[in-house]
Assembly symmetry: C3
Homo-oligomer: 139 residues x 3
């Protein structure tokens, strides 16, 4: 049994979902482990991780529309507004989605459903360099 | 240290929560591993996984009522309506809950709290055959 | 490859977020494993786990404000009111956040982002003794 640690970097350009499935697959291929458990952790509190549909890109547009409507920028409830009206909504949206995900890997293949992709959900309006920590344990 | 891969299938019949705890326990019992980490991944984007109360079934009714009210079928925000008014709400509800869960297993026993059950949350109105991938690593 | 099982206890005093990062770090330090995968499971259905900002405590205040507003106590939709108006909202808030989290540990260090802390999110108004099960696999 072995384990590997790594990190992927993704430059985001505003509030939306970014498909990182291919980046994850490439990292897995480079490791000296064939089958095991892969765990992803995003190292931020204003962007999150999500598994959702990778086929019709309108799903991604609608996900963003929904969260934008649910957690309104500049909501008067919020007192933490240090970095602007999209600051606190980003923390709430992170709380409502996920910061870590785990997947079985069998013979170098991530066990995802036919229409599933792995996404970074950027919740801020500006550009950021987002880091996702990777851990892979298996043999 | 060993690992096992598997899958459980669950036929759903409309939008609600389905307790799969017993199915998971049975699968764990059949594996040649006594203690370790169990990881579940649902292989769909319109049904999700959840740990919640397994005692009063009204909790399950109320969870469904809340999500139905929060993410309305036919919401005019949504442009992805390919499979009907419950299509995009299913993706949003999946984003708001979980697609993967991990549990410690000690001496073949899933470490759950007294009132915790493991559920598939079906978000579509029709019947579906849902697949949950299982991974168990331990000894 | 080795594994360790444990539990931490946290006494909560009402609805808010409780930082348990230090408790987790202490537990990891005491185990005979240097690097691996740490998994946390809260053993309750009315309190949950969350990774969010640990710097400005107003973020925690605002997270509570948002969830309080989104899932209203005494919402007439709810039929499960056995333990009072904050009972069913607690189950919904648990569904909207997480019950389990996994983190890579490298050389005894939890791989968290600079501003990330690990929190128990207590969703009930009263005091509770909350249990979080821990599992650590590695070498």
């Amino acid at each position: 049994m072995k384990q590997a640690f790594g990190e992927i970097l993704k430059n985001t350009e505003g509030r939306k979902l970014y498909d990182i499935t291919t980046m994850i697959i490439h990292w897995v291929e480079q490791q000296n482990i064939t089958s095991g458990l892969l765990t992803l952790n995003i190292l931020h509190t204003s962007a999150s991780l999500l598994v959702n549909e990778n086929y019709d890109s309108n799903v991604l547009v609608d996900l963003e529309s929904f969260f934008c409507d649910l957690v309104k920028d500049g909501n008067e409830l919020f007192i933490h507004t240090t970095e602007g009206p999209d600051d606190m909504p980003a923390h709430v949206r992170t709380a409502l989605t996920q910061t870590n995900l785990s997947f079985p890997i069998k013979d170098k293949k991530i066990m995802l459903g036919e229409w599933q992709g792995i996404f970074i959900f950027e919740h801020r309006l500006h550009s950021f360099n987002r880091r996702v920590a990777l851990h892979f344990i298996g043999e």
